[in-house]
């Protein structure tokens, strides 16, 4: 079943095309890596998927709901980190989540606190929940970012460069968390990153873009097959420079 459908999406800034006629689908249960060099249009597309900006052409559907026309229903299925998660620094991590959980109509009032504690537990921040966000390390902020993405019981989580600034231990924790959420809770992931090595360990599918256009999409096995004896990294560099 398709969780995310991108159909001929185009976004321009003046005469420059940021994303051009892009189409691909993400299926339920996928952990999909979204790969491309800096400035390829990854964040622009993620902003469009999360309804922050509008495409000039094309459609984006989440669980069958059009993000532009049926924004509330479409985004009800999504949790996201767009760029780095910037929290309200004057509130504790728990208060940030308590504030944001109110915006999910599918979580009844009496279950809000329990849901916040549950997601704090999932990301391993239960013991630091009461501390102000400004005292958190970058890794903790990323984990809190995932916690806020989990709040509304999403079917799809979109992560934009989630490993940015994380140390190797933080990256490993994040990887395990994604795999656990995918396996245990059946959540679909769409993860943009530069760290191809890291994506290789968690992603079943890849979408590769360059200069705002789709270059290739398929499963990891398919990519490995076309890369032949070269590593995926070498093949990726080859795709980007050709």
């Amino acid at each position: 079943m398709k969780v995310l459908e991108i159909e001929h999406v185009t976004k321009k800034s003046g005469r420059r095309t940021l994303v051009g006629d892009m189409s691909f689908d993400i299926m339920q249960g996928d952990v999909c890596g979204f790969v491309g060099p800096n400035g390829a249009g990854k964040t622009t597309l993620i902003r469009m998927i999360t309804g922050l900006i509008r495409p000039e052409e094309g459609r984006i559907r989440i669980e069958g709901f059009d993000v532009q026309r049926d924004r509330m229903k479409a985004l009800g299925q999504v949790g996201a980190i767009v760029e780095s998660p910037i929290f309200f620094p004057y509130m504790s991590g728990r208060d940030n989540l308590l504030n944001l959980v109110k915006l999910h109509a599918n979580i009844p009032k009496e279950q809000r606190k329990a849901r916040v504690d549950e997601v704090l537990n999932i990301v391993g921040l239960a013991s630091r929940g009461q501390d102000k966000v400004k005292t958190y390390s970058l890794g903790m902020k990323q984990r809190l970012g995932i916690a806020q993405a989990l709040l509304g019981n999403p079917k799809l989580i979109i992560l934009d460069e989630p490993a940015n600034g994380l140390d190797p231990m933080g990256i490993r924790e994040l990887r395990n968390l994604i795999l656990e959420l995918n396996e245990k809770h059946g959540i679909t992931f769409f993860v943009s990153s530069h760290l191809l090595d890291e994506l290789q360990r968690i992603c079943s599918r890849f979408v590769i873009i360059k200069e705002g256009r789709l270059v290739w999409q398929g499963t990891q096995e398919e990519w490995q097959h076309i890369a032949g004896s070269s590593s995926l990294e070498d093949h990726f560099v080859e795709m980007m420079t050709s």
Binding site: F87, Y90, N99
Partner: protein, 256 residues
């Protein structure tokens, strides 16, 4: 909508600035009360004065504190809410939820209106308290129009109506600031934008000078000597500013 209101209300009060503004404002109101207590006359302008009494004290108190509300506390709270959260990138966490942008703006507008009303209620309550404690009570009160005198109950309603009018002016400011905060890029520029609009209108047309000199307009309007329309331009600013900003929020690109 209720959840949006609650969530924004909570964030507003968690910002230290809101609480500190409230404290500073109460301090200013009390200092202004002390300043007024030293005087025997309340001045409507450079020429017209009346004796300060328990019945008109709160009205003159509002005149003293109105500039703090219009030029400092109001714009700062409004800009922090309409532009500061977005400029700082924190609002993105709210924008990616299943909410309507129009309702989000409406929630912010309503919450700010409630907070500004709280500032006015505090001013009125403190004014009435100080007035009745430290100024003589009289049987008849005259305001700017010497031909109309009021009983204590009438004077109370007169002051209340003046506060109500000032609240309407604040709401017009709120809608215009919302629009300025949507058009201008950063909180500092928004503030300059607001000062520019408030001051500029004084020079451009007397009809809109209530944005800067609200109390002067209210004094004259209540006395029946205001030569321009007041309610119409106030509602035009309020409704047009609100509607334009709301539609803009629905159509805009949120790139921060």
């Amino acid at each position: 909508m209720m959840q949006l209101l609650q969530s924004d209300w909570q964030r507003m009060w968690k910002r230290k600035k809101t609480f500190v503004s409230m404290l500073i404002f109460v301090g200013i109101v009390v200092l202004d009360c002390l300043f007024l207590m030293m005087q025997n006359l309340g001045a409507f302008d450079n020429v017209s004065t009346v004796p300060l009494t328990a019945q008109n004290f709160s009205l003159f108190l509002l005149k003293e504190v109105s500039f703090f509300l219009v030029l400092i506390i109001g714009p700062i709270l409004m800009i922090d809410s309409f532009n500061g959260e977005y400029h700082g990138g924190q609002l993105r966490l709210v924008l990616i939820r299943p909410i309507s942008f129009m309702k989000l703006f409406a929630a912010k507008w309503i919450n700010l209106a409630v907070i500004m009303a709280m500032f006015l209620v505090a001013t009125f309550a403190i004014g009435e308290l100080f007035g009745h404690l430290f100024k003589p009570s009289v049987d008849t009160v005259v305001f700017l129009n010497p031909d109309r005198s009021y009983s204590p109950a009438g004077a109370f309603m007169y002051c209340l109506e003046s506060y109500g009018l000032f609240m309407l002016i604040i709401l017009a400011q709120l809608s215009l600031t919302g629009l300025i905060c949507t058009v201008m890029p950063s909180p500092i520029i928004c503030y300059l934008g607001w000062v520019g609009v408030a001051l500029g209108t004084v020079y451009v047309s007397d009809t809109f000078s209530f944005l800067m000199f609200g109390m002067s307009a209210i004094f004259q309007w209540m006395a029946g000597s205001y030569t321009h329309a007041l309610l119409m331009p106030v509602f035009v600013c309020m409704v047009l500013g609100f509607a334009c900003t709301m539609l803009w929020w629905n159509r805009r690109n949120w790139v921060k």
